[in-house]
Structures are given as structure tokens and as C-alpha cells.
């Protein structure tokens, strides 16, 4: 994949220009920035109020209708965990593949990962009945002498998600160090202080680089299996149960593909405005979008395949429960959700076979929005629709979310964008160092020639 970006295709900036252009993105924010920030904080506050309301009166204020005991909250949890995945994919996996084009987009993706996990992490708390006892899910020594049940997929979740958060955060920070050193030299005032501290006295000496490159390599090597494991574990929350429509061996790969799919879409959604506002079109080019588009297409096809195979297995298994469940999925009360999902995730990405669309940034932006929508609905369908139609016909029910759930969902988006906005203006969203890395340093010969 190293040849994805031909050197001549990239109008080569000098190292100095790179530093200059990217440091420029940390300049004075426009009024628009503050408006946006204010907006997301307001929406977030609304979400918080809704949550407090729910804690006071009980989960009943959400739309839960037994037997649908999980709803929007868990769907959104899975959605955000999924979003998180592309970040690590681009920064770690593509790093191991030595694909040069990642350098200018990976920072954004990685920041998105961290904030997405931070968002996802809230939902298991929000959805439990007694949030004030949520800490019981951690194996800490207590006077009751009780431990937790490591056989429960939820426990795996606790470990997987917290590990993922820790590692991806470390990964982000380590990647930032040399950049911060570079920014440090240009910054002034309190920010200089900030960068002096955060760059941990980085100077780019031969020794530092020697350890750094190794360390980074191994972090990437660890992050790679981790990212695959995390969404597998999340998928096992469902696959380990006996709920028809959940209990499927295909779930782990299916979820991982879906996660990367939605994550890449979110990266596109973020990059399009970002490159405009920060005027970094020179570094984030159409080529990058085409590559992302190809990733989208690949994962999209895998997801589409998974959908198909789910139905096939449901039929092939001969299990009446599975068959009924999937029939209900497609033609039951929730047909609209299912078909939204299939259209957005199964059919729309096929457009990406056209090079024109892959290279049209507006088209990509719109498409990415559709994919985000579709992937949220995928989780909704898997969770809600399966639960609403299980084994016991007498106990089947229909669930519709309440305003509380919508408010908290909106709040979660606000929370995510709040962090991203704050990050974008204080830390380089395009890696200075790595962008330089793919630009060969000037040489005497060529200079003299």
C-alpha cells in the first residue's frame, strides 16, 4: 500500500512549510468556533438534565417495554465503540503496513477514537438500573468478600473497553510528543508552557528516536490485536446470549468490519470540514479520500455480506426461532428500521465502485453521513428487533424510545464533538512529524544539480 500516494501526486511542501501550515491551524479561533462550542455544550447540558431526571425517577422514564430490556442506550454504546475502531486501524494497522497515505489523516482518526471511547464508556453507566452501584462491576476488594462474575460478557466488556481506552489514549499521546516539541518552538505564552510540559523535553536526538521508533512500533503491534478484540468482545455481549438474532458465530468479524466501516465514515465526516477550515487541503487531498473510500467499500461489502449470510444461516439452521426472528426483522413491526439499515450500509456503498464518487468530496461527505445513520440503525435493529421477538410469543412486545433517550443520545454526540473541537484547536490534527517523514529530506547532490 506504500504506493498509494505517488510522490509526484503530492505537491511537495518543504519541512518548514509543513511546520508552518500545521502550526497555523492552532492559531486564534474564529467566532464560528465559539458558537459551535457553545452549541455542543448546551446540547450536552440537556443530555445531562435528562440523565438526572432518569436517575431520580428510575429507568421507567426511558421507553423500555419488556421484553425489550436494552434499547437506544446500548445501541448507541455499540455505535460509539464502533466509531472508535477506524482510528486505531488507520494509526496502528496501516502503520504496520507502512502505508504512507495514513500520515496526514491518522491524528484526526486517533483523536476521534479516544473521544468516541470516552462517549461509549458513558452508556453502560447510563443504562443500568442503579448507576450508583455501577462500580460493583469492577473486581475490587470489599468487606462483603464478593467478587465479580468473569463468565459474564459484560465483565469482558468492562476490561476490553477500559483497556482500549487506556491504550488508544497512550498511543495518541506518544504520537503527539515530537509534534508538540515542534509546536513548542513556535508557540508563545501559556501555550508554550503547555507544550514544554506535554512534549516531555523532546529534542529529537538520535537516542530518543532510537527508543521512540521501537516503542511506537510495539504499541502499534499491541493495538492491532486489541482493536480486533474489543469489538469482538462487544459483539459477544450478544453472541454469547441465546437470543435469536444475537446468537451467531459470525458476530465477531461482522461487528469488527461494521465498526471499521462506521469509523471510517466518521473520519470522512470529520475530515471534510476540517481540511476546509484548517486550509490543509495540501496535506489531506482527494487521494486520501479515495483511499478512505476504498476502505469504506471493502468494509461495506463485508457488512453487506454479513447481512446476507445472517439470513441464510437463519434459514439454513432450520431453527424456527431464528427463522421467525429474521422474518420479523424484515417484515415485522420494525421493517422500516431494518430497511434503513440495509439501504444505508448494504446498497449505498456500492456507489463507491465509481471512481468519480470516490474522488468527489461532497459525495463522500453525504455518503459518510448515510453510513453513520445506517450503522446506528444496524445496532438498533440487532438489539431492539431481536429482543422484541424472542421465544415466548405471549411475552413479545413493542418498544419505542422516549424523549429522555433521544436527549441523552443527542447529548452524547455533543459530548463527543465538544472534546474534538477542544482538541483541534490546541493540538495538531495533522501529524507534523509523520507528514515530514514521507517527504525526503533535501540532499546536497540534488541541491547542487
Amino acid at each position: 500500500m506504500t504506493t498509494l500516494v505517488q510522490e509526484d501526486q503530492l505537491t511537495r511542501p518543504t519541512y518548514h512549510e509543513v511546520t508552518r501550515d500545521i502550526v497555523a491551524t492552532l492559531g486564534r479561533p474564529s467566532r464560528m468556533y465559539y458558537v459551535l462550542l457553545g452549541l455542543v455544550i448546551t446540547v450536552f447540558a440537556i443530555g445531562v438534565v435528562a440523565l438526572l431526571f432518569q436517575v431520580r425517577y428510575g429507568l421507567g422514564v426511558a421507553g423500555y417495554t419488556p421484553p425489550v430490556m436494552w434499547g437506544v442506550y446500548i445501541a448507541t454504546f455499540v455505535f460509539w465503540v464502533g466509531i472508535a475502531h477506524s482510528g486505531t486501524l488507520i494509526s496502528a494497522i496501516l502503520y504496520l503496513f507502512r502505508s504512507a497515505w495514513r500520515t496526514s489523516v491518522y491524528r484526526t482518526a486517533e483523536a476521534m477514537t479516544v473521544f468516541a471511547v470516552m462517549t461509549a464508556g458513558l452508556f453502560p453507566l447510563i443504562h443500568v438500573g442503579r448507576i450508583w452501584y455501577a462500580y460493583w462491576l469492577f473486581p475490587y476488594p470489599n468487606q462483603r468478600q464478593l467478587w465479580v462474575n468473569f463468565k459474564s460478557p459484560l465483565l469482558w466488556d468492562v476490561f476490553a473497553v477500559s483497556t482500549y481506552f487506556t491504550v488508544s489514549t497512550l498511543f495518541l499521546i506518544v504520537g503527539l510528543i515530537p509534534d508538540l516539541a515542534a509546536v513548542r518552538e513556535k508557540a508563545t505564552g501559556w501555550r508554550k508552557k503547555l507544550y514544554e510540559i506535554t512534549s516531555l523535553g523532546w529534542r529529537g536526538t538520535d537516542q530518543q528516536w532510537r527508543h521512540y521508533t521501537r516503542g511506537y512500533l510495539y504499541l502499534a503491534a499491541l493495538a492491532t490485536p486489541l482493536v480486533l478484540s474489543v469489538h469482538s468482545v462487544v459483539s459477544w455481549d450478544f453472541a454469547m446470549s441465546i437470543v435469536p438474532g444475537w446468537h451467531a458465530t459470525i458476530f465477531a468479524p461482522y461487528f469488527v468490519a461494521g465498526a471499521i466501516y462506521s469509523g471510517v465514515a466518521m473520519v470522512v465526516t470529520l475530515l471534510v470540514p476540517l481540511r476546509k477550515v484548517f486550509k490543509v487541503e495540501r496535506y489531506i487531498t482527494v487521494e486520501h479520500f479515495e483511499n478512505l473510500a476504498k476502505l469504506l467499500l471493502l468494509t461495506g461489502l463485508i457488512v453487506g455480506y454479513a447481512y446476507a449470510i445472517e439470513y441464510f444461516i437463519a434459514w439454513y439452521s432450520g431453527s424456527p426461532y431464528e427463522r421467525a426472528s429474521f422474518w420479523n426483522r424484515a417484515f415485522g413491526e420494525y421493517w422500516w428500521a431494518t430497511w434503513t439499515m440495509i439501504t444505508c450500509n448494504g446498497f449505498l456503498p456500492l456507489l463507491l465502485f465509481s471512481r468519480k464518487i470516490r474522488r468527489s468530496i461532497p459525495a463522500m461527505f453525504v455518503l459518510s453521513l448515510f453510513v453513520n445513520l445506517g450503522m446506528w440503525f444496524e445496532r438498533f435493529v440487532i438489539i431492539v428487533v431481536s429482543l422484541s421477538f424472542e421465544y415466548e410469543p405471549y411475552a413479545m412486545g413493542h418498544y419505542t424510545p422516549s424523549w429522555v433517550e433521544w436527549a441523552i443520545l443527542a447529548g452524547s454526540f455533543a459530548w463527543f464533538f465538544m472534546w474534538f473541537l477542544l482538541f483541534a484547536k490546541n493540538f495538531p490534527t495533522v501529524s507534523i512529524t509523520e507528514v515530514k517523514e514521507i517527504i525526503p529530506m533535501p540532499r546536497k547532490e540534488r541541491a547542487h544539480a
Partner: protein, 199 residues
Amino acid sequence: MTKRALFVTGTLVAAVASVSLLTSQSTTAQGPQGDTAVPYEAPVDIDTAGLPGPKQPILYRHDVHAGQYEMDCRYCHFAAEVSPSPALPAVATCMGCHIIAGAANPEVQKLREYWNERRPIEWIEVHEMAPFVRFPHNRHVVSDSGSFKELEVVEKCDVCHGPIRRMPQVYQFASLKMGWCITCHEKDQVSIDCTLCHY
């Protein structure tokens, strides 16, 4: 090399520490108090303000009744052996003696007021169990499992209620937390099944 060795030991220490940290700490349950053989003199005048435990409508002195006069706990808490609840003495029970005894004592006069007005005494609960816990007194008072085998009934009371026969005013002796129950149950090989107490 040294650096590496140091690192290895470091991580091992960390691991061991984490495990040992997780080992359940034990709360010790107080056994029966000292020699009940020696006759006990309950102090005559005591500083009621300084006494631990909640202030009761009547200063009923366990140290006098159960300590000095060595009245059996079951005289008042008559149901302790037959019922999950040990039962409180009815006002009539108190009056059984105090119709004559201790006329001079101001606390006894209070008691008589209650009796004359046919008013129940609203004692403050000292040992308050969480509503989701079942503690059958009878099973414990009658029990002869493990360390309870060689105990007198009254001594069995002491295990949880502490030196109650020396208390002018009753205070909560044991934590009554789950860990405390468990420690004893494990020591005496009594079942620690959750539904023994929680349902």
C-alpha cells in the same frame, strides 16, 4: 542486565502485591466477655451524657438487670429461641417487678407513667438490619455449630451484641456488615449461600 533483573522483580512484586491486596480482610467477631463467674457490681451513678449509643426514652440499664442481677436475656426477650425476632418485653413485663421494685428510681417512675397512660414505649432501634437481610435469632441462639457449641445461650448473645451485660446504655457493638457475618459463618462452616439471608 541489572536493569533487566530489577525490572523483572519489579513487575513480579507488583503482581504479588495486587493479588495480596485482593485477599479478603477479616473482621473479628468478639467472643463472650470475660469471667461471668465473678459477681458484677453495676456502677451506681453514671454520666449518662457520655454513654455511647442512642438515648432511649427510658434509661434501661442492661448492666444492672442482665449484669448485676444476672437476669437471663430470655426473661425479657422471650422469643429469642423460638422466633426470628427476639421480641421486646411488653410494658406489662416490666411492671411485673416494677409495680413494687425501684419505686424511688426516676426512670422507673417514667415507666409507670407509660403504664398508667397505657402508652407504649418507643425504643430507638440500636441494631438496625438492612431491610433486605433476614437474621433469624432463634437459629443463632439455639445453634450448636462450630464455635457456638461450648457457649451458654447468653454468651451466644454476646457474640453479636458484645459486652451488653456491662452496658448501662446499649450501643451497636458489631458492624453488622455482611463481611462480618460471613467471617463467622466461614469460621464455623455454616452455609454462606446468599439466599440464607437475602430474599
